[in-house]
Symmetry: C2
Subunit: 122 residues, 2 copies
């Protein structure tokens, strides 16, 4: 990841409404939520929400999928992981710790650190 993409992503998240939107999408997972559901949940006027969704989309943090009249938005987990990795890259010059950042993305989970779920916890 290059710094410009990271700045775009961080700018997108550096706003209360957008951070809230992103977090509920992270918590919702792959199915996502429609714009209307988000607007209702967070009590944000439609026009304002639309503006914020565009910002998050342009930053690559969320993706949209149309289903009939509804547009479902869902978090882009690999974008999030790339951002986390970028922020913590080469932490402490590699010593005495390595950085571990992973969320919902096989690519990261498999190579760096297996997540501790109820299933994998022995």
């Amino acid at each position: 990841m290059e710094i410009n993409s990271a700045v775009k992503a961080l700018s997108a998240l550096a706003q209360e409404s957008r951070l809230s939107i992103f977090r509920i999408l992270v918590q919702t997972g792959a199915d996502g939520l429609s714009a209307g559901q988000i607007a209702k949940t967070l009590s944000i006027p439609n026009a304002t929400l639309s503006f914020h969704l565009k910002e998050l989309t342009h930053a690559g943090l969320i993706t949209a999928r149309q289903e009939s009249r509804f547009i479902y938005y869902y978090a882009n987990f690999s974008a999030m992981n790339e951002l986390l990795q970028f922020m913590t890259e080469n932490c402490c010059a590699g010593q005495p710790c390595d950085v571990v950042t992973a969320c919902c993305d096989d690519k990261y989970q498999a190579t760096d650190c297996l997540p501790l779920t109820k299933e994998t916890l022995l």
Copy 2:
């Protein structure tokens, strides 16, 4: 962590100079760098750097330590970890993965996931 702190931290990082400053401090670790060293490394005018250092400090992401005429700045790793955790909290409603975010902080490393360093790798 509450959302206002997270927004402050993200706003602080959502700027190219500040993100660069933060990253080299993350990479430098506990010793940190003096304002002058940072200014020289990143070719940022003193007044501008001072402004950005204040922003990062107010956001809680870095801390300063005076040593004679020099002021050393260093990353606040627990603030960073709190932020990472806030962003990924309750990811996918806890299924099918758990979130792992940790950097240079025993509290996080010990409980969630041991870092894979040359020493701990087997």
